[in-house]
Structures are given as C-alpha cells and as structure tokens.
C-alpha cells in the first residue's frame, strides 16, 4: 500500500509512520491454533440452558400465558415471565438520553414482531428447555400488522408501539429529523432539469458465524460474571444494571472476543435475562441464539426508502436537493433513532448544494427491530446518492468523475447543516481514483483542489 504524503503536505502535522506498514494481528496466533477463547469455550458445572418462547405472530395481544405443563417437563428448573423482570421496559440508548423506554425484556401485554421473546425456560439440558418451551401455552388475539414505512405513517394505520403513541420517533417535538438550507422550491423553479427518483433497500442480516450469546455465572457474595460476545460491553453492563435494579459492582462482564459482529452484537438482548436467570437460580446460565434465531430475531440493518429530488443546471451544478428518507426501525427503537439522525447528518452527500431540504423519518412497523450495522444510517443513503449522481451526469452528458469533482465540498464552503467545511478531500480522492482506473478527466478537474473552489 502506498501512503502519499504529498497531499495537503503544508497542513500535515502528524507523521503517520504506521500507515502502509504491515503488522501482524495480535490475535492471529490464537486464531490459527484454535486457542482463542470465545465466550462459549468454557465449561461450568451445573450449567442451565435458557430457551425462549417466541411470538408466532407479527402483532397480537397476549390474552394468557400458561406454564403449568412446561414446568412438569423433567429437567426444567424455572420459568421466567415479564413479572420476574424488575424494570421490564427499557431502551438501549437511554444511556445517551434517547427516550422513551419502549421495549420489554419479556413481552407481556402485546407482541409487536414475529419472534419477540415472551417466556424464558431454564432447564438442565438444551433438549429439556426446548421441549418445555414448546409446552408453554400462550393465547393470542391477533391484531392487524403494518410492514411498510409509508403505510405505517398513514392515518388509521395499526399503532405498533404504544410507548411512542404514534408510528414514528419524535425528535425534539418534530415528527422527523430535518435539515433546512436555502429554498429548494425556488431553485427547482429555476433549474434546467428537475430529477426525482426513489431508492429502497431490504433489511440485511449480519449473519456472524458465531451466533449471539452469553453465559452468566454466580460468583461468591452475590456477584455475577457474564461471558459474552457482545460488541458493547459497557452498554450491556449499564443497561443490565438498570433493568435489574442492580448496583454495578455486582455485575461483571468479560468479553471482547467476538466471532463476527458487524454491528449485529451491539444490542442488549441476551445478557439481562441471563443475568436475571442466574440470580434467581444461583446457577450458571447459558443463553445462545440458534442459527434460526440469529437469522429471524437478531436486529438486521434497517430497510430504507429514499426519495431524492434534484435541481440541476446544464453546466453541471446541482442547485437544489430535497430528500425524504424513511428508516424502518421495526417494532422498537434500539439504535434506529440514532441511525436516522446519522442519515440526516449525511445528506446531501459530500457536495456543496446551496438549497437543501431533508426529512428523515424513523418509523415503527411490525417487522424485526433493526439496529446497528457497519455505517448504518449512511450506507444505504450513499448508495442512493451515488446512483443519483450517475443519473444526473448521464442526463446532461457529463463525465461522472468530473461531475463529482465539480460539485464536491471545498474547504470553506457552507454545508447544509450550517457548518463550514474543513478537511475536505473528495476532489483528491476522485482524481486518484480516475488515475488508478486510467479514466480520462479534463484539465479543469485534474487541477481542481479541495483547498479552494476554482472560479
């Protein structure tokens, strides 16, 4: 790999000596010898296995839960329902002031997505736990469900999540995350072309090779250690302490070795209930997703639908960009209110556009709650923006690389978010890409610089 130190050499203050130098991973020897210890690579005497009874419906009222038959299965030790959870309603991002708490650890009055966890069965063996889970009898009243973000926002749509009272997350009193800059409507009226397109994506499952899970072990003195493959040890510790009304010093998390995460192991789902189970039984408890659970109930990347309307001049300048973006949060917030804010912060892309209007909606539906995944809130938006950029360039017969260089941020430009651009480097990136691809670009594009806008 080549590290070009000639870019922005005058402003470069660090000597990045490690960039471009090959260094062995510190965990490589453990990986190739099978010595790396993942959370499940441990044995504990008296280990109990936890299996969940999950909702077979996308949206339903729970009329009754009967665990009598399940309790009779040989090997069953205890069965947990919502009543056993001290603070059953939580939301992961309450730690960064996201409100309200909107998700039960164990569902009790309603289920809001297919696969939602309702009853936890603890047994001496996995087989006994599975058998007993199948014998828990839950009576449901099935409710109409909504699976589409725009349908969910229509009047009369089924209400998914009562904690919000409406099918969207509220941002400081607003129904969506907004960006306003200039006057898009006036700019559309003056533009040579107005182009409107719609883009959408499906949910994407991380599918790590190691499924989500943890083991909680009672220590001496009423303290508990959790071996977990979470990507978010401290989020997990804090949320668990809140859910269990427990002092922090009683809970210990051991982790950091993750068999594939990609953002899929950032939610706090398996640990609180496994901690609770270990506290109530005083025995080690393992809660591990099966592959089917990993695919069906772990949070995927959110599906998004994005409308982009652009005002374009014949000379290649984009004069207006209006974006309406919907993030499908599924039934609960998890990381989606934050992801939607990221989506708004990322628009209108790395381009200086004088008139920008952005509405990003975080919408609740009866689909599996979505959450973090590599660049969530940004990746799908980038796909939409860059496909749109190619379409615009093609429409006016301009080279797509030159078109991007023309519109790219320059230092000192005003962003739609009312911040001045600093440290822009897109022009140089596109120039380098054109060079590597042996893609011819005109002289004006070749000599352009992020440091100043050429007149």
């Amino acid at each position: 790999m080549e590290y070009r130190k000639d870019y922005f050499a005058e402003t470069q203050t660090q000597d990045l000596t490690e960039v471009g130098v090959t260094r062995q991973r510190s965990d490589a020897l453990g990986h190739v010898t099978g010595k790396t210890q993942y959370y499940a690579d441990r044995q504990f005497a008296g280990l109990l296995h936890l299996k969940m009874v999950r909702s077979p419906h996308h949206h339903a009222r729970i009329k009754s839960i009967d665990v009598a038959k399940a309790l009779k299965v040989p090997g069953v030790v205890r069965i947990l329902t919502a009543k056993d959870v001290p603070q059953n309603i939580y939301t992961i991002l309450c730690l960064i002031q996201v409100e309200p708490n909107d998700e039960p650890v164990l569902a009790f009055d309603k289920v809001r997505f297919k696969g939602e966890q309702i009853v936890a069965v603890l047994a001496e063996s996995e087989a006994a736990a599975r058998d007993a889970a199948a014998k828990v009898k839950i009576v449901y009243e099935v409710l109409p469900a909504v699976f589409d973000v725009e349908e969910a926002l229509k009047p009369g749509a089924p209400l998914v999540n009562e904690y919000h009272g409406r099918n969207y997350f509220t941002y400081e009193g607003h129904h969506c995350r907004r960006v306003r800059h200039g006057d898009v409507e006036r700019a559309f009226a003056k533009a040579d072309h107005v182009v409107e397109e719609m883009y959408q994506s499906s949910p994407i499952e991380h599918a790590p090779t190691e499924t989500t899970g943890c083991i909680v072990v009672p220590d001496q003195n009423d303290r508990y250690t959790c071996y977990s493959n979470t990507q978010a040890l401290y989020f997990t510790l804090d949320n668990t302490a809140l859910i269990l009304n427990s002092p922090f010093h009683k809970l210990r998390l051991v982790g950091g070795t993750v068999g594939g995460g990609f953002g899929g192991k950032v939610d706090v789902i398996t640990e609180p209930i496994a901690f609770l189970a270990a506290m109530l039984t005083k025995r080690p408890v393992k809660y591990e997703y099966s592959r089917e659970e990993e695919m069906q109930v772990s949070s995927p990347r959110a599906a998004e639908r994005i409308y982009i309307k652009d005002g374009l001049m014949k000379d290649g300048r984009i004069t207006a960009r209006k974006v309406t973006l919907y993030v499908d949060a599924g039934a609960y917030s998890r990381h989606s209110p934050y992801g939607t804010t990221k989506a708004a912060a990322h628009m209108p892309g790395p381009y200086t556009i004088p008139n920008v209007w952005v509405d990003c909606h975080c919408v609740y539906t009866n689909r599996t709650p979505s959450s973090a995944m590599r660049g969530f809130g940004v990746t799908i938006g980038d796909f939409a923006l860059e496909v749109q950029m190619d379409k615009l360039a093609r429409l006016i017969g301009m080279d797509p690389m030159e078109f991007r260089i023309l519109n790219a941020y320059r230092d000192g430009d005003m962003k739609a978010h009312q911040k001045q651009v600093e440290g822009a480097a897109l022009v140089e990136c596109v120039q380098a890409a054109a060079d590597l691809a042996r893609w011819p670009i005109d002289d004006r594009s070749k000599t352009a610089s992020s440091l100043k806008r050429e007149v």
Binding site: Q24, R25, D27, A28, L29, G30, H31, V32, T33, G34, K35, T36, Q37, Y38, A40, D41, Q43, H206, A207, P208, T209, E210, T211, V258, G259, G260, G261, F262, S290, R291
Partner: protein, 163 residues
C-alpha cells in the same frame, strides 16, 4: 439416556469415551473433552465451522454421531502441529491475514489440509471447491484462498522456503 463406549484415535492418541447415544462428535469434543478449537456456528451442517478430519476426509462434527467414530482416526485443529510448532497452513493464514474474527478459521484450515494431502498442487478453482462448505463472513474469502495456495507452494518445496 444410554451411554456407549467408543474407542478412537484423537490427534494421534488413543481415546476411550463413554458417549450418549445420539450425541454428536462436536459435543464430545467440546463439552466432554474441552477441545474448543472445533467451533459451532449452526449445529445444522450449513456453516462448516465444526469441520474435523476423519480418516483423511473433512467431516462436519455437528452431523457426525460420536458413536460412529469407533475405530476412526479423528484430527482437530489442536492436532495439526506439535505443540509450539505451526503447520504451513497456520503460518500462511497468519501471514496472509486470512483470519479476522477467527471463528471460521479452524474449519477452513482443516478443510484445506484435506485438500493439500490429496492434491499438493491445487488450482485456485480446486481451492475454492475445497472450502465451498465453509462460510466466512469477515474476510471475503480472497485472503483465505491466497493463504491456502501459498501454503501449498511452501509444502511442495519446504527446503527452499526455509532457505
């Protein structure tokens, strides 16, 4: 639950175990013998993380009954090289950054070992075919394929490589 006695060779040593009928080799290795180098990614024969070598062939230990291993020769990642030493495949996986999270790595290395034992000079396509039952979600496979080809080359001319 009935238990049966199973005698087999595990990483060149004679092993005698009482296993529950119907239980898997994967569970015998991990839960009874504490050999955690063999990973479980699905318990249903789809991911390849649990691959071990039985009589020279790659097998999914999650779908292999422990009782059916009677008299067989089983090798897990722990048995690939003497303690403190690395098999050329292990070295090549390290050098080539072919292990990221490492969870697929044991299965990948053992599947590759079976290939190289039977075909010391495989084509790229033959390597791809040999690991087609092993899922990796981190690397995008290219570094793994490259590492296996590098190891094959090293195994063919060990003397020159060391020089």
């Amino acid at each position: 639950m009935t238990k049966v006695a199973v005698e087999f060779t595990l990483n060149t040593r004679e092993q005698n175990e009482f296993v529950e009928t119907g239980s898997t080799l994967l569970s015998a290795l991990r839960d009874r013998l504490g050999l955690y180098g063999t990973k479980a990614g699905c318990h249903q024969g789809t991911c390849g993380a649990c691959t071990v070598i039985i009589d020279g062939e790659p097998h999914l230990s999650c779908l292999t009954l422990a009782e059916r291993c009677r008299g067989k020769d089983v090798t897990t990642l722990e048995g690939l090289a003497p303690a403190g030493a690395l098999h050329p495949l292990q070295q090549a996986f390290m050098d080539g950054f072919a292990a990221q999270c490492g969870f697929c790595t044991p299965g990948m290395i053992l599947a590759a070992k079976c290939l190289l034992d039977r075909n010391p000079d495989p084509t790229r396509d033959e390597v791809v075919d040999a690991i087609s039952g092993n899922i990796c979600r981190c690397t995008g496979y290219e570094p793994i394929i490259a590492a296996i080809l590098t190891a094959a080359q090293g195994l063919r001319k060990p003397a020159r490589k060391r020089a």
